[in-house]
Symmetry: C2
Subunit: 401 residues, 2 copies
Amino acid sequence: VEIDRLLLELFLIFAAAKLAGELFERIRQPPVIGELIVGVILGPHALGAIGESEVHEIFQQLGAIVLLFMVGLDTRLGELRAVGRRALGVGTLGIAMPFLTGLAFVTAIEGSLDEGMFVGAAMVATSVGITARVLADLGVIHEVESRIVLGAAVVDDVWGLLVLAAVSGGTRGDLTALDFAALAIGGIGFVLIVATLGRKVVSAAIPAVTDAKTQASPVAFALAVCLGLSALAGQIGLAAIIGAFLAGMAFSESRPEWDLENQLESVYVLLVPYFFVITGSAVDPSIFTSGSTVLLVAAITGLALVGKLIGCGLGMWGTSKRSVAIVGVGMVPRGEVGIIVASVGLSRDIIDNELYGAIVAMSILTTLIAPPILKALYAGRPTQPRAPGARRGRDVEGIGG
Amino acid sequence: VEIDRLLLELFLIFAAAKLAGELFERIRQPPVIGELIVGVILGPHALGAIGESEVHEIFQQLGAIVLLFMVGLDTRLGELRAVGRRALGVGTLGIAMPFLTGLAFVTAIEGSLDEGMFVGAAMVATSVGITARVLADLGVIHEVESRIVLGAAVVDDVWGLLVLAAVSGGTRGDLTALDFAALAIGGIGFVLIVATLGRKVVSAAIPAVTDAKTQASPVAFALAVCLGLSALAGQIGLAAIIGAFLAGMAFSESRPEWDLENQLESVYVLLVPYFFVITGSAVDPSIFTSGSTVLLVAAITGLALVGKLIGCGLGMWGTSKRSVAIVGVGMVPRGEVGIIVASVGLSRDIIDNELYGAIVAMSILTTLIAPPILKALYAGRPTQPRAPGARRGRDVEGIGG
């Protein structure tokens, strides 16, 4: 039966991810790279051991949601606020530059502004999951650059929502100024309200949750809030992981009582690998057999890389070269967001198959390139592998705008 | 997008399950009943807040898999062996009686032996998840009757596989004696090999797992074995949960080092509710609007109930009336297995829509009936609600054949 087949795939993905992760730990590389490569190898375009279905998509999502929830759990609002202006600049310029370079390049070579707008839009949104995992694995999630990346990713996602809405509605000609204003207010309002009120609501609920008779009620409450805010973010048009990150932050100050980071470790261990393996499985290696496609991929990937580095680098003006590089590279991975935008463009016949393939390749390549560079930027420093089980001190980080 | 919709459903199911569970805890009823009723209310045949898709099926499966793994984790081979002969008798007679009564009744009223065989086959297989949860919630999972039910469920499942194969192949006329022998050897061999060798393999792996650099490697190893044996059982044609139960048993003696019951609590809290809510969502209340269908449902449900009670009761010959009743009622829930058999019959046009609906209703009704009766059979005794967090003593149970 189909369900038996899916269960077998879920097992294969999990086991292969753990083995690859272990191998990469032993050769002192981020395990996330091993998991991504396993995905490419097992994926539908290579061995075909992993298929494509809603089940794969939802496990990919849940993996990213749990990951960002755990990152949020480790992030206090104050820490993010301290880097707020910096994050706003990095997120905003990091959206503007890739959009403009993508738009200009594709409009020039294809002669179509609609096509240029879609490719530009597909090039903007950073997928922060990969970077968050690498920073966590390296044990540097509390450093100031990590905070800026996390904050900028939230800013980036709100901008990404608005750019997609503008391009999508603009090319179809049915987006009114009112629709756009509603989206903008919804996206910005969601982020601001949840970020500021979330922890107060959680605090207010502590007595009721403590009194509840349900098994492990704090864990159940945290999971419900995590799923609820993720789903709500998705309904608004934001990435679900932004809801998950904000949910985690809302619980970041409840930890002494509930010890959620330890309590949720098995959910993390179970679900997070699905995000990386299934993300990797979207790569189609055969795209690199045509010379002109390779050139197109190289051009778009290069522009995506350079656009993000320059945009985010400008946002980091005045800091050290190393900080500029870490934040710039940290914002490079596009992950699944670019692929989603491109598939909307493809389904509306605005972009063709080759351009679609190039965007998918760009999304994956930017995702694969970032982890080793980040790792190299931290090389020489004593690394401290992530272990949510062992709580780390909060007072070791040095946060500043 | 579809994925956003599915994420919203997963949140709704989880939140509603926890609220209903809490409510039922407070009115001193098994929370599982609350979760099943929530499923009926939110299901596609009522409010429609829960749809039907592979995502729902896989979450339903994973919930049952995690549940049975945890039950297995609490079960030592010796405990099961001590009730082995009893469980064999209960499982075997508990298959034979419902099959014969179902076969005789439907052949008599419909005049078709093929139809009778399919309905008989749909009436045999106990779905032990519901009973396991009720027994665990009542804190009686180590009592001798609970052990017999768990052992009998394994026997029952192997027989169920063979009955389904015989009926399915027999009515299609393409099952050779060799195929049947292969199935029988596969099913029985899987159970015997995993039950006896599983814990030795786990013990042998302990040093490697302890040395591994992967985060929370014992948890990752346990989850991999659980998913792997569940998937393998599914590939052989057994219920995936039988693989999960045997996987749990294989780890039952590794616990002192790894504390898996506590470590996996959040996975349990997250996934198990999906099994009950999605199982409940299959109920179509509208079936009870036609008088003749109500009669058919009543007759088939009655035969399913009485057949299981008499068959399992005979297997318990010589024990106390209370033990006979607990084991008999514990084996009554049919859950999803009967529905799967019926849907095969429907897709081959061997049974009609009315009969299919009646089997679905029987599966659900037997599932809904058992928990309150079980609870009543334990009434008066001091209850001890399940808390995997707090490990219970192993030496309190009195096991005997």
